[in-house]
Amino acid sequence: MVRRRNSLVRHIFYMKYTVGHILTVGSRGNKQKQANMAASCRMRCSIRSSQIGHITRSLLCRKHFCSSTSTKNTVDEEEIEKLSRTTSDWWNPNGDFVALHSMNKLRVSFIKNSLDHLPRQNITPSKPLGGFRILDVGCGGGILSEPLARLGAEVTGVDASSRNIHSALRHACHDPMVADRVRYKCTTVEELAEEEPESFDCVVASEVIEHVTDKDTFISASTQLVKPGGTLVITTISQTALSYAAAIVGAEYILRLVTPGTHDWNKFVTVDELRALVSQYGSEVVDVKGMFYVPVCNKWCWIEDTSVNFALSAIKLAETSPEMTSDTQTTQTET
């Protein structure tokens, strides 16, 4: 408690100058705090103090909420630490996330297609997603949220790392095409599922589930957030020998496309497991596609084979009666 008060006093003192510092307020170890403070010094920014108050409020509330909540948490603290980056890291055109940027070509169109069956309201040629509410789970720096917002969707990005949310906010606020349509929140799907159940036309968990330990809870909460008839879109890495070779040995250690240690093969999930899991929570898998990355030209393309990267879209059935669930499950096992 004392430590908290100290840090709060200090952060009021620094409020005008740093935001990064504020973000680090919390119950972390001293060493870590120092490191974070060093980082926060770099993050000087020009946001008005009233706005800082706004951010702080939200973030503090989150801390409070997290400590008091009894919701099962699928977020792994280690993973948060590993995947917390600054705006520069997320948006550097030559940085760690180039492959994630170029993946947008596939996943944006995949998300667009997955919503084809829903009635459209405010569609214009430049806003094919107009009127849709989309949740981007594990939004990171907003690499996927921003394109979706530009295409007209009302995007909510959630991420368990406050640093990522801060990065995403900083980047999005510059762009008038994005800023009005996107909101970011430092929370987890489980928490959000309690607050806003069935409120999204589409829930996207792109390159997230491979970092999640409790996949059951994650899928259950994600499905809960989808409106009946809406879609759940997941892209991830399969748990195969080939994916170990490609995503970990190849991408992390040989080509260094991703920082070594980013992925844990044991947390990967195979297509069949994910199919079963999604069906179990009352969604019908409608599309599964393999994705292939060509590092030399930094391009992704669709392939048949789903043994490394794949994308899956499912429609949440209107009635999630147990019979139906078991039905889909049996068809699943038959196939």
Binding site: S58, T86, V108, S126, L169, C173, D175, A179
Partner: protein, 476 residues
């Protein structure tokens, strides 16, 4: 204690962003933010403005066109302009797609079916026509359109797009600042996210993407400190509108390579043609200032007069034609019946001269910046390709930006602009190399190069597949 404070602050608020309250630079003058700013409202710049304005996937993007010239109605008078361009079928397709071709048709243009090229230093000649492979179902090789007509058509089309494209006349760029990518994104003011353009009227405009279409001396290119490989040619162009001696169909573009430079006669109407004469700067000055009668004589002489021939070259040319007639006995490749029309007089006050140069920007794009047209590449007009390369840029950039917008990308980001650069350089560099090589090859009268080019020309004219390739290349 703290929990109560937190509660009073209100729990679980979303970080909903509002540009107006959150951002500084972009919001301070939100009216001066444009998604695309095109600097230079010439034929290429204006056609890009039309193209982007009509692109459905970009219908939420604000477009600004900066034009240094004042806004004055462009009346196409009965007098023909001395500045004309060869519009290839490929460029015509672009102009059709942006709705400007209809306006051109309502004004005036002249299609030509054949291009006849010959050498002053030998009997070698070649005739290009669409031949078997009709271009888009028409037998037209290209269209001669006066530049003011094209510009008027584009202006007319831009008027219909007023809601999408804002045109600022009489406005020049003073300073361009591009975002510095090496900086830490967490470190600086948000205003540095966009390109900012300081205008001569004191305003500052922020833009997601700046397009430099401001010609060979591009200020945009200089301000971005992009390197440009350039040199001046030892030639100047003399242009004039000429009256022909007789009324003919006038569907052939004529070009003769003199050792001092090529002279070309481009059809305008049944009895009017436009002259483009490339020659030494001294001679050009002389031509522009001499009496009209003498000028007409000079033009006729240039087309009809034979230069001192080297007997060896003549012999070789004859042999080549003999050989060619064996390869292609069904066509008379050596037929020398084609001859240009004779010129009777020159339109008063239509003579003008301008210098030639070569220029190629080593890079066409930067984050939030792209160069098009002469700002990126300037060529010798001997092949009539300058503006067509520019229109090619427009078509390519439109497609690239439209695709980027479809993917929800920030259209100013480098990733897709690089693909524009790659695609265009693949077309532009071979064309520029070819034109520059032709210019050098034909700027001499010493026997060896003359021999080589004569035999080469005859070979090209005999080997139809090669010839068709060239026609295809030049009419893209």
């Amino acid at each position: 204690m703290f929990s109560s404070v937190r509660k009073s602050l209100g729990c679980k608020q979303f970080l909903k962003l509002r540009v107006c309250s959150f951002c500084s630079a972009a919001s301070k003058d939100v009216h001066d933010f444009y998604d695309v700013t095109i600097v230079g409202g010439g034929m290429v710049g204006a056609s890009l403005a039309c193209a982007l304005g009509l692109e459905r996937t970009l219908d939420d993007h604000k477009i600004l066109l900066l034009e240094a010239a004042p806004d004055k109605p462009q009346n196409i008078t009965s007098a023909y302009s001395n500045r004309v361009s060869n519009i290839t079928p490929g460029s015509k397709r672009l102009l059709e797609s942006i709705g400007a071709w209809d306006h051109i048709c309502k004004m005036r243009y002249k299609p030509f079916r054949r291009m006849h090229v010959w050498d002053a230093c030998s009997d070698a000649h070649i005739s290009f026509d669409p031949g078997s492979r009709e271009l888009d179902g028409s037998a037209d090789m290209g269209f001669i359109v006066e530049n003011p007509v094209t510009l008027a058509a584009l202006t007319k089309q831009l008027k219909t797009l007023q809601s999408r494209v804002k045109v600022l006349h009489g406005t020049k760029l003073k300073r361009l600042t591009l975002p510095d990518l090496t900086r830490d994104m967490d470190d600086k003011d948000v205003g540095h996210t966009w390109a900012s353009l300081e205008l001569n009227d004191g305003r500052t405009v922020h833009s997601r993407l700046v397009i430099g279409a401001d010609g060979p001396q591009s200020l945009v290119r200089k301000q971005a400190s992009m390197d440009c490989l350039s040199w001046k040619y030892d030639q100047s162009g003399v242009v004039a509108t000429l009256h022909l001696g007789e009324i003919t169909e006038n569907i052939v573009a004529w070009q003769k390579f003199l050792p001092t430079g090529p002279i070309a006669l481009l059809p305008l109407t049944e009895n009017l043609s436009s002259l483009v004469w490339s020659t030494t700067p001294e001679h050009a000055k002389e031509l522009v200032s001499m009496e009209e009668d003498r000028f007409v004589d000079a033009v006729n002489n240039a087309f009809w007069e034979d230069f001192d021939r080297n007997p060896l070259v003549d012999q070789a040319t004859r042999m080549s034609y003999l050989l060619a007639s064996f390869i292609q006995p069904w066509t008379n490749v050596a037929s020398g019946t084609q001859s240009p029309p004779s010129v009777s007089s020159v339109e008063e006050g239509s003579r003008a001269m301008f210098p030639y140069g070569f220029g190629h920007a080593t890079e066409y794009v930067r984050p939030r910046l792209a160069l098009i047209g002469d700002a990126a590449h300037r060529v010798h007009p001997l092949a009539g390709q300058g503006v067509n390369l520019g229109f090619g840029d427009v078509a390519c950039l439109r497609d690239v930006l439209s695709e980027a917008a479809e993917e929800g990308k920030d259209i100013g980001s480098l990733e897709h602009l690089l693909s524009y650069e790659t695609k265009r350089q693949q077309s532009v560099v071979p064309m520029m190399t070819a034109i520059d090589t032709l210019k050098r090859l034909y700027s001499t009268s010493s026997p060896l190069p003359v021999l080589a080019r004569s035999v080469g020309l005859i070979a090209t004219s005999t080997l139809l597949p090669i010839k068709e390739q060239i026609v295809g290349f030049a009419t893209r």
